[in-house]
Symmetry: C2
Subunit: 84 residues, 2 copies
DNA sequence: AAACCATGTCAGGATATCTAACAAGACAGT
DNA sequence: ACTGTCTTGTTAGATATCCTGACATGGTTT
């Protein structure tokens, strides 16, 4: 009865993701451009993010803060993630 | 570690609520206008809804479908809800 | 018939997001 | 020191979304 959001449900616009991750829109788009993440799009071509995406951004951010560059993160995520 | 959304966190724009509730934007705004619900607003004055709001809309919708009018729903919700 | 209720629809304006481009600081290699 | 690459900022123009207010309409009540 209580409403929930499944982890894969793409229901968050970029602004909310910015707030939830403390990343800038520029960073979010750049990480996508670099293939670290592939958010869904709505009919108007606007990015829509899931909780899984947000979790991934937090991971990315923690790696960035540890000084790992995008190429490294890409490799780490590729080997860690079972994309079903 | 896993990301979650608290029930009171206002993170859904109206379009997502439309999809999640099968209500029209007109209905959503009308129910607010009638005092059935009071969604948050972001800095740009756009409505931002929480999971609690969505739950409330589902409740409202079920009453509407049972033929109860807005005045009746208002009373029901007012007596049922403990607004902390 | 007149009034009211709930919703649709439209217009004009404000806000949000998109892509593409250029700028710039940090850092690496030469 | 120079050059190139990486990451992020910023800006511009276009598109998408959302806002309020107004009028329209079918259904119900009086």
């Amino acid at each position: 009865m209580d409403p929930t959001v499944s982890k894969k449900q793409a229901c968050f616009p970029i602004r909310v993701v910015m707030e939830m991750t403390n990343l800038t829109a520029r960073q979010i788009r750049y990480y996508e451009e670099q293939g670290l993440i592939k958010p869904a799009r709505n009919d108007g071509n606007q990015r829509m993010f899931s909780l899984e995406d947000i979790e991934r951004f937090r991971l990315i951010k923690s790696y960035i803060e540890r000084g790992i560059n995008v190429a490294g993160i890409k490799t780490i995520l590729a080997t860690n993630v079972r994309d079903s």
